[in-house]
C-alpha cells in the first residue's frame, strides 16, 4: 500500500524508523528539538526520543560537526542536521579533514558511520550567501558518499540507506521541496546508494539530472514530448559514487545526452560526467554532450537575476535541440 507523504514527512519516517531500530543513532543540530526543526523535518522527534537523542545545539557548526565525528569514532551513529549546507562551510574542516579521512588515516582502526543532512541550493530570493550548491565540492572528496534526494520516495529509501551506511554520507535536501508530496509505500524499503534511477525511459535523448532540478527536467520532458522528442530522464540520486553505467547504457541507446545541474559550471558534476562519457561511450555519441547549469556567478537577490541564473525548461529544451541538431 502506498500513501502520499510530504518529503519532510518521508525524511522524518526514515529517521524515526532507524532510530527505533538502533539506539546508537541520534539527531543533532540547530533547532532540531524544541522548535521541531527549522523546516519541521524533525517534528515530534524530541517528544518520541527525548533530549538525549534529539539534541539542540548552539549556532556552532564546527563544534557540533566535530563532536559528532568524535562520537561516530567511538561507536555512535550521528545524524547531523545543517540548517542549510551554506552553513556547513563553517564545519567543512571536520567533514573533510576528520570524517572523510578517519578510516584511511587510521589504517581502518576507526570509521565514521554518520550522516550530514540538510537543504542545498537556492530557495528563492535569498541572496548570495544562502543560495549555494556544494554537491560537487563534497563529491570531490574520497571517503564521503553524497546523496541528493528528488522526491518523497527516494527521500525515505535513500536516507534509510545513508543512516545504515558505515561511511560518512552527505545527504542533501531542498527547502523548496519539503512540502512536495509523492507516493511512499507503507512497507519498509531501502534504495541503495550509488544507483541512478531511470525515471522515464525514452529513445531520442538522455537527460541526466538530480535533486530539485529533476522537477524542471520533468517539465522539460513534457515540453519535448509535445515537440515529438522522446527523452529518457535519469535521476542520479547519488553523486558520489556516480552510477556511470546507467548513463552510458542510456547513451548507447539514445546517442545524445544533456546534463542539468543546479551548480556553478566549473569542475561540476556535469563536467565530470561529460569526461567519463567521453571515455566510455565516445563512439556512441552523435553530438557533443551539452549541459545546463546555473550561471557562473554568485546568485544575487533581485527576481530578474534569479530567473536569469537558474536552469529552466527553455534552456533545457534549447540544449536538447542543440544535441539533436534541430
Amino acid at each position: 500500500m502506498a500513501r502520499e507523504l510530504q518529503i519532510r514527512e518521508a525524511l522524518r519516517e526514515a529517521m524515526n524508523e532507524e532510530m527505533r531500530a538502533d539506539e546508537n543513532i541520534f539527531l543533532i543540530g540547530e533547532e532540531v528539538a524544541e522548535y521541531n526543526g527549522a523546516y519541521k523535518v524533525s517534528q515530534g522527534m524530541l517528544e518520541e526520543f527525548g533530549e538525549k537523542r534529539v539534541i539542540d545545539t548552539p549556532i556552532a557548526e564546527l563544534g557540533f560537526a566535530g563532536i559528532s565525528v568524535g562520537a561516530a569514532m567511538n561507536g555512535l551513529r550521528p545524524i547531523v542536521e545543517f540548517m542549510t549546507f551554506n552553513f556547513s562551510l563553517v564545519a567543512i574542516d571536520q567533514v573533510i579533514n576528520s570524517a572523510a579521512k578517519m578510516n584511511s588515516m587510521s589504517g581502518g582502526e576507526f570509521f565514521c558511520p554518520m550522516v550530514f543532512r540538510g537543504p542545498t541550493g537556492s530557495a528563492g530570493q535569498l541572496g548570495a550567501q544562502h543560495s549555494q550548491n556544494f554537491e560537487n565540492w563534497y563529491a570531490n572528496c574520497p571517503g564521503l558518499k553524497v546523496v541528493v534526494l528528488s522526491n518523497a520516495y527516494n527521500a525515505k529509501g535513500l536516507l534509510k540507506s545513508a543512516i545504515r551506511d558505515n561511511d560518512p554520507v552527505i545527504f542533501m535536501e531542498s527547502e523548496q521541496m519539503y512540502g512536495l508530496k509523492h507516493e511512499v509505500p507503507e512497507e519498509e524499503y531501502l534504495i541503495p546508494l550509488g544507483q541512478a534511477n531511470i525515471q522515464k525511459s525514452g529513445e531520442d535523448v538522455t537527460i541526466v539530472s538530480f535533486g530539485k532540478m529533476m522537477r524542471v527536467c520533468e517539465e522539460a520532458v513534457v515540453a519535448l514530448a509535445e515537440k515529438g522528442i522522446d527523452a529518457e530522464l535519469i535521476d542520479l540520486q547519488t553523486v558520489r559514487p556516480i552510477d556511470y553505467k546507467t548513463i552510458a547504457d542510456s547513451i548507447i541507446k539514445t546517442n545524445r545526452c544533456i546534463i542539468v545541474e543546479e551548480a556553478w559550471p566549473l569542475a561540476s558534476i556535469s563536467s565530470e560526467i561529460s569526461y567519463m562519457m567521453s571515455q566510455m561511450v565516445f563512439d556512441h555519441l552523435d553530438a557533443p554532450i551539452k549541459r545546463v547549469t546555473t550561471r557562473d556567478v554568485p546568485l544575487p537577490y533581485a527576481p530578474t537575476l534569479v530567473d536569469a541564473f537558474l536552469p529552466n525548461v527553455e534552456r533545457i529544451v534549447q540544449a536538447v535541440d542543440a544535441v539533436m541538431y534541430r
Partner: protein, 330 residues
C-alpha cells in the same frame, strides 16, 4: 576626554531615527505581505535604541559592520530610506543595486560595510576593518555588531584573541535580544552573562541597557575613545529585545506574551518621547507632526522603490570581478 551629556538635539535626533526605523520596518512587513519584498527579512523593531545610540556616538570616519538584521543600522548610518527600501524590493536604486536584499545592505559612502548572512562571519571582518584603520594610522574605530546566537561561533574566539593581542580599534557589540531564532540564551550556554566571554582574553567588557539610547550612546562613545587612544577592543553586551519573530516566517511561539509586554513597557521610542516632553524640548503636538513627517518619508521611500526598475539580466555578470573575466557560458 570628558564628553557632554546628550541634550535636546540628541534626544530629538534619537526620537526621529528610532521612529523612522520603526515605521520603516512596519512598512517593510506590509510590503513583504504584498510580495514586494521576498526571501529572508529580519525586522529591527524593538532594538531601535541600539541604532540611536550608535548614530550619536560614532564619529566621521568610523566604520560599522553587522549581521543580516541590518535595516536599522543602514538607516542609522544615514543611508537614504529610499535606497534601503529599493534594496528590499530588489531594484537597481537599492544601496546594493538590488543584488543584496534585506540581509546585505552596503554603502561605502556611509561607512557601512554591510549586512552579513553567515552567523558570526562578520566578527573577524570587523576586526580586519579595524586593523586597516590601525595600519593607516587613523583615529577611526570599527563598531562590529553581532547577535547573541553569533557569540557561539568559533570565529568570535579566534578574533577576540587576535584583536586583544594587536590592540585593534574595534568595539564588539552583542545585541542580546535573548533569542537566536527559537533558541534562548539559557538553552545555549552556562555563562548567561555574554559579556563575560571576553574575560578569557582579558578584554574589557560590560553589560549595557540596550533599550536606552542614552546608555548605548555612553558606552559606545566611551569604549570607542579607548580604541581611538590605542587601548584596544571592548566587548559590549547590549540587553535588548525583538518584538517580532526571527524572520517573517517565525510565529515566535517559544516565548511568552508577558515577556514581550515587559519589554514594550520600556519601549525606547516611548521613553524618549516622554523625556522630550518632560524636558519641554518639544510639545506633544510638535512630536506628532514630526511623526507624520516620518511617515511621509517612509511613504516616499516606498514610492521611490516602486519606481526603480529591476536589474537587467546582464547585471548578473557585473560586480563579480574587478576586471573583465571569461565566464563559462554553458
Amino acid at each position: 576626554m570628558a564628553k557632554k551629556k546628550p541634550g535636546k538635539q540628541t534626544y530629538i535626533d534619537w526620537f526621529r531615527m528610532m521612529m523612522l526605523i520603526r515605521r520603516f520596518e512596519e512598512k517593510s512587513a506590509q510590503m513583504y505581505g504584498q510580495n514586494k519584498i521576498r526571501g529572508f527579512c529580519h525586522l529591527y523593531i524593538g532594538q531601535e535604541a541600539v541604532a540611536g545610540g550608535l548614530m550619536s556616538a560614532m564619529e566621521d570616519g568610523d566604520k560599522v559592520i553587522t549581521a543580516y538584521r541590518d535595516h536599522g543600522h543602514a538607516l542609522a548610518m544615514g543611508i537614504d530610506p529610499g535606497a534601503v527600501m529599493a534594496e528590499l524590493f530588489g531594484r537597481v536604486d537599492g544601496c546594493s543595486k538590488g543584488k543584496g536584499g534585506s540581509m546585505h545592505m552596503f554603502s561605502k559612502a556611509h561607512n557601512f560595510l554591510g549586512g552579513h548572512g553567515i552567523v558570526g562571519g562578520q566578527i573577524p571582518l570587523g576586526a580586519g576593518i579595524a586593523l586597516a584603520e590601525q595600519y593607516k594610522g587613523t583615529k577611526n574605530v570599527c563598531f562590529c555588531f553581532m547577535g547573541d546566537g553569533a557569540v557561539r561561533q568559533g570565529s568570535l574566539h579566534e578574533t577576540f584573541n587576535m584583536a586583544m593581542l594587536w590592540k585593534l580599534p574595534v568595539v564588539f557589540i552583542c545585541e542580546n535580544n535573548n533569542y537566536a531564532m527559537g533558541t534562548s540564551v539559557e538553552r545555549t550556554t552556562n555563562v548567561l552573562d555574554i559579556y563575560k566571554m571576553a574575560c578569557a582574553y582579558d578584554m574589557p567588557s560590560e553589560q549595557v541597557d540596550g533599550m536606552s539610547c542614552e546608555a548605548v550612546h555612553e558606552a559606545l562613545e566611551r569604549t570607542a575613545d579607548l580604541a581611538r587612544k590605542g587601548e584596544g577592543p571592548t566587548f559590549l553586551e547590549l540587553k535588548t529585545y525583538r518584538y517580532k519573530g526571527h524572520s517573517m516566517s517565525d510565529p515566535a511561539k517559544y516565548r511568552t506574551k508577558e515577556e514581550l509586554e515587559n519589554y514594550k513597557k520600556v519601549d525606547p521610542i516611548e521613553v524618549t518621547r516622554k523625556e522630550i516632553i518632560k524636558k519641554k524640548w518639544m510639545t506633544e503636538k510638535a512630536l506628532d507632526e514630526l511623526e507624520e513627517e516620518i511617515e511621509a518619508e517612509v511613504a516616499k521611500a516606498v514610492e521611490f522603490a516602486d519606481n526603480s526598475p529591476f536589474p537587467e539580466p546582464d547585471e548578473l555578470y557585473k560586480d563579480v570581478y574587478m576586471e573583465d573575466y571569461p565566464f563559462i557560458v554553458e
